[in-house]
Structure formats: C-alpha cells, structure tokens
Symmetry: C2
C-alpha cells in the first residue's frame, strides 16, 4: 500500500473491491479461484462470506434438451427490461473427456455483450463431482458480495449432483417438456421433490396439456405437501411465450417464503448442509491419507486375496 | 444345532447354504439384508466374501429408454440357449417419492418363470444414493458366492451413480440409440469413458449408421487409448437382432482381459476403490456424529450470522 502499484492479482479483498466496482476480469478471477479449490478458494470465502446474504438465488434444472438455457436467456431479457441486475452461473458437471460448455457460454455472452447489468459464467467440475456441491455456493457468494441482487443457477444435465446444486437455491425451478416420459423421468430423478415452480416448456407441442395433468397428478400424490404447492406454468421459451408468467410464479414463491419465514428457515438448513458437506470433505481428505501407504496396500491385498472383507479392512484402517 | 429345528431366518451362513442349493427365498433374503445395510449386511459380507471372485460381471448402462432391459432380456434367452446360468441385478437409484421398479421386475421374471438357471432382482436406494455404490458389489458377491458364474448389472437411468455402478464390472456395456444427441449425451455423462462395448440399439431406425460414425469419431478423439478399443455393435433388441454379435464382443473383451492380465489389475483397482469408499462411509458416519449436538448448532448459527465462514466452522468442529 505504502509503495502503491497494481493490485496483487490474487489478493481476494482487492479483487472483490474491483469486482464490486464493475471490473469483470476481477469477478472472473474470483470465481476461477473458487472453482480451483484449495487455499485460494478458502481465502476468497473468508472475504466474500461476511458480505453475502443479500442476493436471491433461483435454481433452474431439468433434463438435457428441456430448454433451460433458452428459458434462462429469455428470462434475462425480461429481467433486464425491468432494470434488474442479474448473474447467471451455469453449472456443468461435464466429463473431462468431452470438454465443457465454454463455446455455448461465449455464444450466450455475446447476446448480452456490453450490458453491465448481466454477468454469465459457467463452472465445470474437471472430474471432481463432489467439488461442485462445495464450490457452487462459494461462487454464488462471490456474485452476491459483488453486488448482484439476483443469481440464477442453471444446471446442465440431470442427476443427483444437479438436483443437489439446483435445490440449494431460494427458489428451485424444474423445466420439463410435453410427454408422459419426461414428467416420469423428472419424478424418478427426484426433481419434482425439489421443485418450487414447474415449467412445461415447448408447450406449443402436442401433449402439453397431458404433461401438465400428469405433473398435477404427481403433485397430488405427494404424501407430505407443504404450505406452497408448486405451480405448473406453460412456456414456449423459443418465442418468449409464458416467460413473464413463469417469473411471476418465482416472485410469488419468494414473497410467500419471505412472509412465512420459510426463507430464513430454508437458508439455515442450507448452511447446516454446507457445513456438514465441508466436514465430510475434510474427512475425505483424511480418508485419502488413510488410503495410501503400506497399511492401505496391505489391506487391499488382504481383501483381494479374500483374507478379509472390505468392511473389516476399512474398519481396521480407521482403528 | 443340538436341538435341531429350522434355520434361523437371519443366519447368513445357513441362508447362503440354502441359496447355493437353489433356494430362491434364501437368496432374496440375503440380498435384502445387503440392501438394508448395517450389521446385517456386514454379516452377509463376511460370509460371502471368501466364497466370491469366480463370477464374471457385466455392467449394462445407457440413457433412459435406450432399451437396456429389452437387450438384457434377449441376452438372457441367448445365454440360456447356451446353458449358462445367469443372475441379473437391476440397480435403480429411483426417488423414494416414486417407488422403484418392482412392477417391471415382476413382469420380467414371468418370462423366465420356472427356469432355475435365471435369477432377476432389482435393488433400489430408498433415498440413500451413496448406499448403492456400496451395496451393489456386496449383492454381486452374494450371487457369486451362491454359484452364479455370470452376473449382469443393469442400471436404470443415467448419472454419476449409474456410471460408477455399471463401471464397477469386469466388462461395461453402454447402450445408445440412433441420433447424434444420444451419443453426445452419453459422452457428456462420461459413459463413453466407461464403455468396453458400445451397442447402438434400435439400429433399424434412421440415423443408426451416423450414430456409429459419431461414436467411432469420439473414440478416435480419446487422447489416452488403451490396448482394447471398444467395438461399436448394432442391435435391434426388440427382435433379438445383433444380440449374438453383442455377446461375442463381450466374450472377446473377457478373453483379451484374461490373457493380458488386465482383469486381475482391474479387479485390484476395484477392491482399492471399494475399501476407500467404505473408509469414506465410515468417516461419514463420524461426520454425522460431528454434525449434531450443541457444538454443531453453534457453528451453524455462527455461519448463518456471518461471524465465520463454512470452511472455518468445519475445521473448528474437527479440531
């Protein structure tokens, strides 16, 4: 400081100050640090955590090809017309073999190029699936602390990780398409349990009314319904049809949660889950320690030779 | 023993002896014990582990609707015509909200009713996703110890868990359908990395030749190819077309692995992964212990009030 000069490129406090002033390169660097994990991510977390908690988060998930990206893009235009600043985090647990969604990201960013009120960023796992569940809330806190009042978290693909990531939002939106199969698959994947708002996208196609009926029927079958019943909204993201109604449902859910106190309770549950996930991660690092070296090699050899079984061997390693 | 009488219904040794003699109720009970986890599963593991290691396991996975069940059923008929005894484990990480594949299972079993050389069984998670990765190898060992020389592990749905479960086999078969999207999705889900044999099912539909070309192209893009290049086989499971050729590819992979020593190495890697997974599970149980009680509640309250961040709080709990 005394000597002046440029901001150290890895100092999280300076990066956050710059990001809050609109420096997108600083913002991108902070999220890259989070994505990379380790000490850098921990330092970012210590800086952003005290300044976070103001942003509202909306998770958007659904099967591949359901039209989540198109819906998100249309929603961006709708929100920007209302003057709302918004950040999009596209979470892609893609295979390291395939490469990720970088190209799609660049194409999407061009649509909103020059708009200082929009920030779009993808996050990938690079092979560490467990990592996304930990790094996504940290990335959300970066965007939150940098001043975005609204963060959309879009997940690519459908599986346990995506459900967890999209479910860890203030409002979770599940996108399905016309057709009985899609609604059933969404149910099987546990998506309907996570949904606060259901969108039947591509609802100009045959079977849309049936899809809505099926979803309502599956909601009826929920044996433990809460005070909020997820509305089923029709949309045609390709033309923008239904996007305003979809957003109105999210706003209604937000109001209901704020007025009932459910939002505070939901966030407290999320904090507990996150602390538990970090505890598990730290114990996993200890497991890595237990699962290397001569004792581990001997245990594996004993199991392979059937002198002992995996559970007895594992218990022995931890004894 | 001295007093004689019936076999205690939960004694794993007696159940395994009965199962090996063809008692299907005893076999079903052993797998239910494994599915339920806990001490019962551990006792079954201690009995079956020393007697396992003889069965060859084939994992069959792919996107929902790809035709895995139909292909497996046709394969059963093909194998039974050759006189091979075979067990099928259908692993379904379904939502507890939906219920599982019990009905489908019963329908399928009827096709092979009265055939003592076939056993079909589904396993579900009932909400514990991590549980399947642990209980599937244990269920395989039950079938192995009971004398089945071949165990087919069919996974329902597609996600990280399914890839892990199907990938933990001696030969992993990935089923796709004609159409560029399906091959790309399979690639994104990490399925192509896990595949030893690729089946283009429904190959009487348009786009089958293109799907094969796309798969070969993606295999060409693999930067670290091994000595075995996964063959791409065409099939029409609905009519049984291509099923013999598909099985010949599995047999060829088995021979290649046995002759090269790759099978022994692959199984050793699997044992190490399983012991590590059990260590992590046991540490997770410890985490549950750390994540309850006043200290945990205080840590969560501190994070929620932003007096500390999740990582510092978790480290504090473990200190």
């Amino acid at each position: 400081m005394a000597e002046g000069g440029t901001v150290p490129e890895r100092d999280p406090s300076a990066l956050l100050a710059a990001a809050s002033a609109g420096d997108r390169a600083a913002l991108a660097r902070l999220i890259s640090l989070v994505e990379r994990g380790g000490d850098g991510a921990r330092q970012v977390g210590r800086v952003t955590h005290p300044l976070s908690g103001r942003a509202y988060t909306v998770g958007i998930t659904g099967a591949p090809g359901a039209g989540k990206s198109t819906l998100t893009d249309r929603l961006l235009s709708h929100l920007r017309a209302q003057g709302t600043d918004v950040a999009v985090l596209a979470v892609d647990p893609s295979s390291p073999f395939s490469g990720g969604a970088i190209l799609g990201d660049r194409v999407r960013m061009q649509d909103h190029a020059g708009d200082a009120g929009v920030y779009i960023r993808s996050m990938a796992t690079r092979g560490h699936v467990g990592g996304l569940a930990l790094s996504t809330p940290e990335a959300i806190r970066v965007l939150d602390a940098a001043g975005f009042p609204l963060v959309l978290v879009e997940t690519v693909g459908v599986g346990q990780v995506e459900v967890e990531v999209a479910g860890a939002a203030d409002t979770t939106v599940v996108v399905v398409n016309p057709g009985w199969g899609d609604a059933v698959q969404a149910n099987k994947a546990g998506l309907l349990e996570a949904a606060d708002v259901l969108v039947v996208n591509k609802s100009d196609r045959p079977g849309a009314a049936e899809a809505r009926r099926n979803l309502e029927m599956m909601l009826d079958m929920n044996l433990a319904p809460g005070p909020w019943r997820p509305p089923v909204v029709s949309a045609v993201a390709a033309t923008g049809g239904g996007v305003a109604e979809f957003w109105d449902s999210v706003v209604a859910h937000r109001s209901q949660q704020q007025e009932s106190g459910a939002l505070v309770a939901r966030r407290a549950v999320r904090v507990a889950a996150e602390v538990r996930a970090v505890v598990l991660h730290l114990l996993g690092a200890r497991a890595d320690g237990q699962c290397s070296g001569p004792a581990f090699d001997q245990a594996v050899a004993d199991v392979a030779a059937r002198r002992t079984d995996p559970w007895s061997a594992a218990a022995g390693l931890l004894a």
